[in-house]
Amino acid sequence: MRYPKEVVLKEGREAVIRPLQKDDEASLRRFYAGIPEGDRWFMRHDVMDPGVIAKWMDEIDKDKVFSIIALSEERIVGHATLHMRKFGSTRHIGRFRLMVLPEFRYIRLGTWLLLDLIQLAMDKGLSEVRSDFVVGIEEAAIEAAHKFDFFEKAVLKDYVKDQQGNHHDLLIMIKRLHKRWGDY
């Protein structure tokens, strides 16, 4: 895939998408510091723990996680990852995670990041991709996923709790990656 990719968002804002690099660590920390605490709460890892981002940087080039970032005026404004298993019954499925700064939501940045991850997953020969969303919290991401033909695979009712102790559904969405005519 050719990088960097230049995209123009709604309202004419511009961004550049490229893979995460080893020297992006400090910028990535600043990015996650700008994500509201309420959103970080639903992530799988505590990104404010310095060891977490350091580990992500170590995983670059290890062929298990592909990380892309979106930059606007040199600042990271979006981060998306494709996670793959090298072994076992789910090695045909990739998992997406995506985070965008609040001021860059609803202007299609998430859509462009998602499109890029889908193309990456197709290049890797995966046949399905999965992404999990918290209903009532990640509405922008769910909307972007629908645009790309993700469908609802399962809803885990009241599966997660927010910081106030309120339950939310966890929505598991899947997209099939078509390869040949017979798949359409």
Partner: protein
């Protein structure tokens, strides 16, 4: 459109073919259109009749480039022309953007480098440097069965085919291209295209050009 040879011999593993650019309607009328440019399971050729090529050849500045066997058999074609009226790509200004509307090789001549020859001669015209040339690839028009490739592999093949002639992938929110992630827009910006025109092309790709 002149200066550059209209005709080259192109060597392939299946023998030599003639590649002739800027073919006129009259010239095309004397040639035989390969029967494999037709309808197959899951695939229909972009042009199934010779007169479609003839019509394109009559358009202003259009370039119909043909690959021909010694028996005047058309086994490959490329069509370069201005976009249709009403298309987004017309809004950049008159006669600035041109589309590679078709590039196709008969099934029995595939993988012999014929398409590469067609593109090379097409892109060697001087006027190319004054234009933004683009092509859009829609996976539902690709002969995946004939090529024996997945959509993603076919997409990569297109990039490899066009890149040596200065094309690169461009992002766009054009709805038809966005319908499938494997769809693609490739473009080549000529040396004489101004910075203002390049910037306008960027805004146009995302439908934000104020005209």
């Amino acid at each position: 459109m002149n200066d550059i040879p209209r005709f080259i011999r192109w060597q392939t593993p299946q023998g030599s073919v003639a590649i002739r650019s800027r073919c006129t309607t009259q010239e095309i009328r004397t040639l035989i259109f390969d029967k494999q440019f037709g309808t197959h399971a899951h695939y229909k050729s972009l042009y199934t009749r010779r007169d479609s090529l003839e019509k394109n050849a009559a358009l202003p500045d259009a370039d119909v480039t043909l690959a021909l066997t010694d028996h005047n058999h058309i086994i490959g074609f490329g069509v370069l022309a201005y976009p249709e009226p009403g298309e987004r790509w017309n809004r950049l200004g008159p006669r600035l953007m041109m589309e590679v509307k078709a590039i196709e090789v008969s099934r029995s001549w595939r993988s012999a480098g014929v398409a590469r020859g067609i593109i090379q001669i097409m892109m060697s015209q001087p006027m190319i440097e004054d234009k933004i040339i683009y092509m859009v690839g829609y996976s539902w028009t690709w002969d995946l069965d004939g090529a024996g490739q997945s959509a993603q592999a076919y997409r990569r093949m297109l990039i490899r085919l066009f890149e040596p002639c200065g094309f690169q992938e461009y992002q766009t929110n054009e709805p038809n291209i966005c319908l499938k992630p494997e769809n693609i827009m490739l473009g080549r910006i000529g040396r004489n295209v101004t910075k203002e025109q390049r910037d306008s092309f960027k805004w146009l790709r995302f439908n934000l050009l104020n005209t």
